[in-house]
């Protein structure tokens, strides 16, 4: 089954680059793109019972308008019990603020904190981990 990767970020350049990278390295994967947390959470809510449509991995930015990464996590936590599919969430940010990294570590739903730029090596590693888990 094709893994579904979800990118939540308001940086269009970043999204474009990720698209290019995934297309090239992980042709089997399907990619979802959202400009902010609200769009992402609403997609999940809509398809909460349609498990095949839900993402396997979410790459979540912190700073976004309307609903930022943290708020998305809060909303996600509230509906998590209804989701039957295991979803791994990675916080991805340009921030090198220790406070942000610490905060991410203390949230159970977040698997790891990834500093931008997102490189192919980092993606490989994540895929390795994910495959190992599955």
């Amino acid at each position: 089954m094709k893994p579904i990767l979800c990118f939540v970020d308001n940086d269009e350049v970043y999204l474009f680059l990720m698209r290019k990278m995934i297309e090239k390295k992980y042709k089997d994967s399907k990619m979802l793109e959202f400009y902010n947390g609200l769009e992402a959470i609403e997609f999940i809510k809509e398809n909460i019972h349609d498990t095949p449509l839900l993402p396997d991995i979410i790459f979540l930015d912190i700073n976004m308008p309307v609903m930022d990464g943290w708020e998305f996590i809060e909303s996600f936590t509230r509906i998590k019990h209804k989701i039957t599919k295991p979803i791994t969430i990675y916080m991805v940010s340009s921030s090198v603020d220790d406070a942000d990294i610490e905060r991410a570590k203390n949230i159970q739903e977040i698997s790891d904190f990834i500093c931008k730029p997102m490189t192919i090596e980092k993606v490989n590693q994540i895929f390795g981990v994910t495959e190992y888990i599955s």
Binding site: D11, L17, S94, D97, M118
Partner: protein
């Protein structure tokens, strides 16, 4: 004094003699034989007659009516003792004088000495008798004898010894005459005199008399003591000079001359140097004494040594001066330090206060302080606490120390520190409650200013930190993209894709430039502290903002209502005010509600003496419970608006706060937003 010698009449001859001439013979006292006739009294000296015949005649029966008469007349008692026969005769009068009837007590020398004579007089009496035996010279003595009532009375006692022809003592004769009244008077007088002297000595009062005619000075005994000269000193005008310095001497003689010439009394104080060189102060109260012609012949004066009094007076004066000086210093100190001291004296229930009290509360000097009464000056939020402190101090002697704000009678606001303490005596009883109230308005103001600046600094620090993170975050966003792009381009062979990536790189580069421009603008605001402040017309600034935004306003059909009449101008940096208004108004237009035309109301006013500007719109609004703390942060955007940069409000807040003001926001999502600026 005459002493009877050896010669007496033979009894037989004497008796016939007595019978013939009907005389009674009495031997009285030491020297005389007295003959009493019915009509006359003759005193005859008994001289040497019938020497050698005396042995067989030892005693004369002398007690007759006449004797009794004499005894009564002289109020004298008589007794005699024969040394040869040991026979004794005590006259009834003798016992009568002591209150006894005849034969009631034994008439013996032994009884006299042991029972009648005062114990203290025994020695004196026996000495006198012994002396009489030796010298045959007799002295009158005063003795005390016990009466029947048990009281002692004073008597004058006179004794004589009669010798025989061989010079041997034959008999002793004694008389007593009561002198009790006289003696008592004498003793009383003596006592009064002693008392007077003692009083004069204790009170250091002395008298002097100056004889104007003879120029004689008469001093009382005490005056010698006062002047510390021996009693040999002869006071006179010349020698008296030594006691005075020239001015005092002149002063004294002026006074005396005036007293003499004008016949008026005087009352002066003067210093003297005593014979021993001590300085003394005397008060002299004197008056003239005149003769019949009204001429002053004496000047009499009473002098009192008032040295101690004077010294105390001087000390007191000095003490008072010192006290006054201390009081002045204290008052000045209190005034300078702005400390009010209040003291409640517990025993007398009196409240004392210093003058600074009036300055503190700015009340007139007619205002009477009261601990509870004065609570009215304090702001309501402090009254209860202060009252509790006062009560606790009174009931439990609990000290207190608090700060409070008050409003004076003239309406000025002051901050004070109030300290209350109880002072106990050696018995652990509270005798004084001390309260000090210090005006700490200046300190408090500085403290509040300091707190305010600390807050501003903390805010600025927070903003700087936020700024630093934002900078790194935003720069990194772009640089991350650049590095990813380059990585992709390196491996990309397809020229078309490479061109696409290159175009993208161009965009990222532009964005990076844009970000740098934003940041430099922010840095500009934060570092530009020396912008020129001038009186700015709000309306004028508003007009120039309108010019910039005219296209947008026209396009969106935005309606703007303004009213700057309540506060037409502010002291501000013109460029800041323009930037602030531009940001806020353009935000209102940018985030207008899609279903209605934007309506913006702007008005200025004055609150708490400071100008305020309010901008109210009917736009999208923001959920402040979710975003309230972030609304003014850098690069925080709340709407997916293409023009949202997340920089405007950040800069606005920076500009306002760098000028010492603040900005607040109220908003309801879907209804609109209100921004309020306190300049």
């Amino acid at each position: 004094m005459k002493v009877a010698k050896k010669n007496v009449y033979p009894a037989a001859k004497l008796n016939s003699f007595i019978n013939d001439i009907k005389f009674d013979l009495i031997r009285l006292r030491d020297i005389t034989i007295i003959y009493f006739h019915v009509y006359c009294v003759i005193i005859i000296l008994m001289l040497d007659q019938y020497p050698g015949k005396i042995n067989n005649i030892s005693f004369y029966p002398i007690y007759t009516n006449t004797l009794h008469f004499v005894e009564d007349a002289l109020d004298a008692g008589i007794a005699e003792k024969n040394f040869v026969t040991g026979e004794e005769n005590w006259s009834p009068k003798f016992f009568d004088l002591l209150g006894y009837s005849e034969n009631e007590i034994a008439g013996t020398t032994e009884n006299f000495i042991n029972n009648l004579l005062h114990p203290d007089d025994k020695e004196m009496f026996s000495n006198a008798v012994e002396n009489l035996h030796k010298t045959l010279k007799f002295k009158k003595t005063e003795i005390r004898l016990k009466t029947k009532q048990g009281k002692y009375k004073w008597f004058e006692n006179t004794n004589m010894i009669e010798l025989d022809e061989f010079g041997k003592p034959l008999r002793i004769i004694g008389t007593i005459i009561p002198i009790n009244k006289k003696k008592n008077l004498q003793l009383q007088l003596q006592k009064s005199e002693e008392l007077l002297n003692e009083t004069a000595s204790i009170a250091k009062i002395a008298g002097l008399s100056y004889n104007v005619i003879t120029k004689e000075h008469n001093w009382s005994k005490e005056l010698y003591n006062i002047y510390e000269v021996s009693e040999d000193y002869k006071p006179c005008t010349e020698t008296n000079r030594q006691f005075y310095n020239p001015e005092t001497l002149a002063f004294i003689w002026n006074t005396i001359d005036k007293t003499i010439s004008d016949n008026i009394p005087f009352n002066i104080e003067a210093s003297i140097i005593t014979g021993k060189g001590n300085l003394k102060w005397l008060r002299a109260i004197g008056k003239p004494v005149t003769n019949i012609n009204g001429e002053v012949i004496y000047v009499n004066a009473v002098l009192q040594d008032i040295t101690e009094l004077k010294q105390k007076e001087l000390e007191l004066k000095e003490y008072r001066e010192k006290l006054e000086k201390s009081e002045r210093i204290l008052q000045t100190t209190n005034h300078l330090a702005r400390i009010v001291a209040l003291e409640y004296d517990v025993p007398s229930k009196q409240l004392y206060w210093c003058r600074e009290y009036y300055n503190l509360y700015e009340v007139s000097h007619y205002h009477v302080p009261g601990l509870r009464k004065d609570l009215i000056f304090y702001k309501e939020e402090y009254r209860t606490a202060l009252l509790n402190h006062i009560n606790d101090a009174e009931q439990f002697d609990k000290p207190y120390n608090m700060e409070a704000e008050l409003v004076t009678a003239k309406g000025n606001h002051k901050w004070v520190r109030i300290i209350g303490e109880s002072v106990k005596n050696e018995f652990e009883e509270v005798i004084t409650r001390k309260i000090s109230i210090q005006d700490i308005t200046d300190v408090k103001k500085k403290q509040l200013e300091l707190q305010e600046s600390a807050k501003i600094i903390a805010d600025r620090n927070g903003r700087l930190s936020n700024f630093a993170h934002i900078v790194s975050h935003n720069m990194r966003t772009h640089t991350s993209n650049i590095s990813t792009l380059i990585e992709l381009m390196k491996n990309e062979t397809n020229e078309e894709v490479r061109q696409e990536l290159l175009l993208l790189l161009q965009n990222v580069s532009n964005s990076l430039n844009e970000t740098l421009k934003d940041l430099s603008e922010i840095v500009h605001v934060q570092t530009q502290t020396k912008n020129v402040i001038s009186t700015v017309s709000i309306e004028h600034v508003f007009d120039s903002v309108m010019k910039v935004l005219s296209a947008d306003i026209f396009k969106t059909e935005t309606l703007i209502e303004v009213d700057f009449s309540n506060c037409p101008t502010v002291e501000y940096v013109p460029a800041y005010l323009e930037s602030i208004m531009l940001n806020l108004i353009s935000n209102s237009i940018k985030y207008k509600h899609p279903e209605r035309h934007a309506l913006i109301k702007i008005d200025s006013g004055v609150e708490n003496g400071r100008p305020v500007l309010k901008i109210v719109d009917n736009g999208l609004g923001i959920d402040l419970t979710r975003n309230g703390d972030k609304i003014f942060n850098l690069y925080q955007t709340f709407h997916n608006h293409p023009e949202a940069r997340g920089i405007g409000l950040y800069i606005t807040k920076n500009q306002i706060e760098s000028m010492g003001g603040n900005i607040a926001v109220e908003s309801i999502e879907g209804k609109g937003t209100i921004f309020k600026i306190n300049f």
